[in-house]
């Protein structure tokens, strides 16, 4: 899908997660599991082989009691635009099978299980650990296969999977709009399962290019930052925080460096 729409600006779907509102409840994770047919095993405590499309990390400011603070950081796939925002995220660039690709219409990075042959280059390339490998075939015990969502194909042993920004929901919304002879989707027509599941409304989802979408304004907030910004992966997942120490945890800053005040010294190519 390299053809661009020449008549209108492409979408860049992205997410803004307000860490001041995230309580770490895990509803986004569970909402994602059930929307996307994510399997589960008897032991999920080895997080390296535990499949999560969005995972919540808990960080602390490491100050002694009672000055301690904690913060939760939910991490889905960052849906990187890549260096120069040309659609060359780290994972897409290394995939030898074109099993993961950048969609220029939406900015969403796909994962095509039937093409993936499990080399896991993409996992090595991803700086956010967003990708997970199926070491085993999934098993849904008792009658649990009955709750599987037909819009998302269950994965099999030997393939990599990751967050798709619930692309099937985009397809459904787009199909519906097409039938109703509309070109544009309303903001609430396409929402990810995690954004919908978040009980405190910490996750906002929408088109980062659309001035009328909430994410457009939020991403420009002085509280906004992205993870490992200096790698120039250009993630489309933004975070909001009012806490300085949380902001600092977003990248490997040296003690004298002030997050947000560092000039980007990477040249934009082309």
């Amino acid at each position: 899908m390299k053809e661009k729409n020449d008549y209108k600006q492409a979408k860049r779907y992205g997410m803004v997660i307000d860490l001041d509102k995230c309580t770490g409840c895990g509803a986004c994770m569970v909402g994602c599991y059930s929307e996307n047919n994510v399997p589960f095993k008897a032991d999920e405590t080895n997080k390296l082989d535990s499949i999560n499309w969005i995972r919540i990390f808990k960080i602390t400011n490491d100050k002694p009691y009672p000055e301690t603070e904690t913060c939760y950081i939910p991490m889905p796939c960052m849906q990187c635009d890549g260096v120069g925002k040309h659609g060359h995220p780290p994972c897409v660039s290394v995939c030898p099978a074109v099993a993961t690709d950048y969609d220029y219409d939406t900015g969403i990075i796909s994962q095509i299980y039937t093409r993936c042959f499990g080399c896991r280059y993409c996992m090595a390339a991803c700086p956010y650990h967003a990708r997970k490998f199926n070491w085993w075939d999934p098993v849904w015990p008792a009658d649990m296969e009955k709750y599987l969502n037909p819009k998302v194909s269950p994965r099999m042993r030997g393939v990599v999977e990751k967050c798709s920004f619930c692309f099937h929901r985009y397809q459904q919304a787009r199909d519906k709009a097409y039938l109703e002879k509309r070109e544009e989707l309303a903001e609430n027509e396409y929402q990810t399962a995690c954004a919908e599941a978040c009980p405190t409304g910490a996750i906002t989802f929408g088109d980062l290019n659309n001035k009328n979408h909430a994410v457009y304004k939020l991403k420009n907030s002085p509280k906004a930052f992205r993870l490992l910004e200096r790698l120039n992966t250009n993630p489309k997942v933004y975070y909001l925080t009012s806490k300085k120490w949380v902001r600092r945890a977003g990248d490997n800053y040296l003690t004298h460096e002030e997050p947000g005040k560092i000039k980007n010294n990477m040249k934009e190519h082309h």
Binding site: M29, V30, T45, A197, P199
Partner: protein, 763 residues
Amino acid sequence: MKIDRRSFLSYTTAAVLGGTAGSMLTPAPWKLIDDAAIWTQNWPWTPVPEDGEVTYKKSVCTLCPGGCGITVRLVNGRPIKIEGSKEYPVNKGSLCPMGISGLQYLYGPSRVTSPLKREGKRGEGKWKKVSWDEALAAVTKKLSELRATGRSQSVVCLTGSDRGTIPNLIDRFLTVYGSPNFIRSSTAQDAIEQAIYLTQGKQGTPIFDIENANFILSFGSGILDGWGSPGRLFNLYGGLKPTKTIIQIEPRLSDTAAMANQWVGINPGTETALALGLAHVIIKKSLYDKNFVENFAFGFDDWTDEDGKTHDGFSTMVKNFTPEKVAQITGIDKTEIVSLARNFARASKPIAINGRGQGDVPGSIDESLAVQSLNALVGNINKPGGISAIPDSNYAKWPEVTIDEVASKGRQQPRIDGAGSEQFPNTRFLLNRLPEILNKTKDESPVQALLVTAANPLYTLPDTASTKKAFDRIPFIVSFSPYMDETAAYADYILPNHSYLERLQEVPTDAGISRQVIGLAKPVVQPIYDTKHVGDSFILIAKALGGFISNAFPWNNYEGFLKETLKDQWRELNRKGMIEIENNTPEPLAYTFNTVSGKFEFYPTARNTAQPKNRSALPSYTPVPIEGDIQRFQLVLIPYDTIRLASNNIANSPFMTKTIDDTVLKKQTGMVEINPTTARGLGLKEGSTALLTTPKGKATVKIHLFEGIMPGLIAIPKGLGHTAYNKFLANKGTNFNDLIGPIEDPGSGLDMAWGIRAKLIRI
């Protein structure tokens, strides 16, 4: 042709290069790899879910008493996803992880798929599938025998709640059958509702109107950790304006504390002292609501009773609780105490709440009374942004019952748990006392039959070992659980209820102080196994018992009963999925109280002051005794709650367990949190394995170092350490209840244990 070494090499090189180049140019190898990949991906055990028409059904979640509205997405009539219902006034679209993973309860491996009769020893797990007729006949036979031998009072029904028609139906059954022993599982509600009853003379479900408050002083209530109705509170938190302040008081940085505007670390178990200390400052600085205190309250000042005896009033009593003294008890800086009191009293809509963590343990009556008094000082009773007790609305019109002589005799027997007795006159249910009573009885067990629904005492009661021993003394245990929980696994018969998504049930909940919401949980799917609605089971047993018992249940089934008792409201409930009952009482009508004085009683005259002898009825602070010898057990173990762990009668779904961090559970071993300074003294490091011992039991745990916990404490998550259910949950971590015993509040009999002494030894 002569083949020398040179030409051999050049020919082979050419062949290899040519061959490679050739095969690179043909698509064959790529096609083969692709085919192989496609072949492996079409293995028959990778399911292909059937697609079809998408529909939505609305219902109410009853996995916990929160009562959130849910929307279930179905494909071809097959439920595939649960989301929060945006139109439902309780949760407005928000849902906790448990609610979202609800389908794992419906289809999961823990379901009891047909009536079961125990074959082997209790808890051995050997069952025989029986028919419903056989199972119901067995229960009927036992109950009928007990009744015939004049032992009807020895039948105990244990439920999770006493609100709504299902518990009421069971209570009605016991009434006509002839037993006073209807027991509700204990929660913080027991202590809070009693404190409201003592101060206001009003019996009902306590409501905290957090919606309309703007300064929330939480004495350890995990409002973002599963306290109250999680859907409602998460939704509220998400919509909080910056003008709202949350102060969280507890010794561990919980998720609620982390999100609060201020976290106040307090010595565990000293919350009552802090509440009284705050009252001291508020009164001393004259920051209290004078209109309320002067016109609508009793016992604020010293008073003289009919015999001419003078009693200290609340304001006199709190004089002892100077900031200096309270600072010493609680470990909170005295300037902090003064500023907390000032901020609380000066806020336009302050509210003080209690019930630690998810509110599973009642706690002391003193604590609940002290918190009620704080609310009264700011005049925050029965009004928006305040606290109240909402009596169960009588939406169900029950026909009168007539009972026979046997039932009447049985009903007049004292309750086995001692609730409502001379010793505990204001307590309604005392499940926590049952095990000890059973274990102490030398002769025949006072409980001959135990019927359990929506409760799992063998997991949730403190001191699991002694609870099990007590259960061994009960000759006949019946569980109505849809899931193989610990109590079901220990029963003689299981008469499985429908799971909550297959069951019709009305669900009374509250959305703030002024609105009561009666929701309707409608079946979203036909029962998928051979199960029966618990209401139907009780109706069938009643019919089989015959006589007056049968007469009290003229309906064919629960649905018929619900339609008939709800009368006109049924149609609206069925159509809209809920009905809302407004109960706004404007001032000063809201300030009419049913107490002896007709006022809000700072000095609760109805309080039992026999224990300890001749104590004042005023709330006071006496440290809650904590079990264990300080020489042997130098640390203190406290539990903590998280929304990712369900610690009540329904346990974690596999999805919830999957979300648990590897700092909480590592393989099968549970992790405890301790402060790094405490760990250093014990030679423990992150991930060390240690033996955790308390006077009640021991467990192997792993160590997680956490700065956010008071030194000297160990925190253990609640909700792990199951022995039943399935391999996705069983034998993971430690059940806190294996390590702690109940501590009885001398005045109420309720469990007020907040922790236990413990030690950690590296192994």
